[in-house]
Symmetry: C2
Subunit: 276 residues, 2 copies
């Protein structure tokens, strides 16, 4: 089957050895001191982070929650952040981490918002409502539809690990995605770096499907274990996401330079882990 545009962009980055994804999740309180505490500062901050880290990433991932917090103004900043990155670095896909999912007729609103109005290349969604509900997402053949399977947070197992027919829920979700949801070859899954054993299990289930792996950095995931468990048969397939450890590497005027250094460091660590 032909690769969609999101996957094509990802593979071109993986081919260069780039697996890091920088999460653009800014909060006013953590902006470097020389920024005014206004939503517009976030746009300027994002632009500098994007420019500083672009050479080391396979994707950028703004999380919509941090923009919605500022209402309409935040939504404009999100829109302008995506436009800035896409115009300057059209080769780098933008994942909107929005964790949406509603019934099918309502999801048409979300797909319009995310793929048409904002123009993101991919989106994260919840699996709970099932395939019929999320079909409007799956119908976008050239976008990436990234479904939550095993999340990175403490307590993720409350429902995700419940044993249904002797198999945890998250494995049922992964199997459904691999065997039934992926007819347009545009699915990917989320598995937290904080759960490397579960990551290895999911990798077996989904084959060479892309896995978005948050939880490295501030959340404490182990990079070496992640790469070992997460890589596909080609040594690719990973979108390893870090946010706070990179974008807040310094709260001084050198924040962009420190973000560059931190992303380069993580890029090299991933490279070293792949060689083991």
């Amino acid at each position: 089957m032909e690769k969609n545009i999101f996957t094509q962009k990802l593979e071109a980055r993986w081919e260069k050895g780039l697996f890091l994804c920088v999460g653009l999740d800014p909060v006013l309180e953590k902006l470097p001191a020389h920024f005014a505490k206004t939503p517009n500062s976030i746009l300027e901050f994002n632009k500098q982070i994007i420019d500083a880290t672009a050479q080391y990433v396979c994707a950028f991932k703004p999380n919509s929650a941090f923009y919605e917090a500022f209402g309409a103004e935040g939504w404009s900043v999100l829109q302008e952040t995506i436009s800035y990155a896409q115009e300057k670095y059209p080769e780098i896909p933008i994942i909107l981490d929005a964790k949406r999912a509603d019934i099918d007729s309502t999801n048409l609103g979300y797909t319009r918002a995310i793929f048409e109005t904002l123009g993101a290349d991919a989106v994260t969604i919840h699996p709970y409502l099932g395939q019929h509900a999320v079909q409007p997402f799956l119908n976008y053949k050239d976008k990436g539809i990234i479904i939550l399977v095993r999340t990175s947070n403490p307590g993720a197992g409350e429902f995700q690990d419940l044993l249904l027919d002797d198999k945890p829920l998250y494995q049922h979700v992964a199997q459904k995605i691999a065997s039934e949801w992926n007819t347009n070859n545009n699915c990917a899954v989320v598995v937290g770096a904080t759960y490397p054993e579960e990551l290895a299990v999911v990798r077996k289930i989904v084959g060479d499907m892309p896995i978005l792996i948050p939880g490295i950095g501030a959340q404490g995931g182990d990079l070496e274990k992640t790469v070992k468990a997460g890589q596909d048969s080609r040594g690719w397939g990973m979108i390893i996401s870090a946010s706070r450890s990179i974008i807040y590497a310094s709260d001084g005027e050198d924040f962009a330079e420190k973000a560059r250094e931190e992303s380069e460091k993580m890029h090299r660590q991933i490279q070293n882990a792949l060689k083991k």
Copy 2:
């Protein structure tokens, strides 16, 4: 335990026999012909729907997807819709149907967006990440946190009906909410009117907790079965939501009057069903 403000508002409406919730889910294509096809028309449309139906409802429920479709401008319309309803009808709670949920630090962005910036009285959320993740929502003692349990869409059972110890996942979710998540007495659940048997089971599990019941009207749920299965020990506890069948009752200049008639009709049907 003291009732929170959301529950107090709901109970004051239930006491008047009001159980209908009007979903404010406008799309440009379906606006009456005399409206210009612009986001600002949606605000005017919403205001007239709110005024026409307020006397028959226990809550209004805008769904964020329909506003996000218009980007920042849509977010402003959502904000102004909520403000309009709250200023004119402060006794009627506003449920933002947003179906959010992320890890805990990110949910702080969503709670700020929904409860502080937009000022909604309640929000719908996904259960998949577990209690630890959604604690920032649960910490809002005076808001309503309405968790998806059994959704109204076709195919909802794909994961929600998977059996664990001979009991489907959605019942495990309902039990966790009733026994562990509700320490601030601010939880409610979503069960679709399209599944009345499941609704009766969930009602037993959650006691007198409010249940948001979408799926009446365009989705085909049966009102009589819904009321029989959904009412609590007081004959209350239901937020029965309809959107398209009310807000698009007419596409002419009489749309507000027809929406009023349709909501009055549903109000009386609910009343009659309660008497049976």
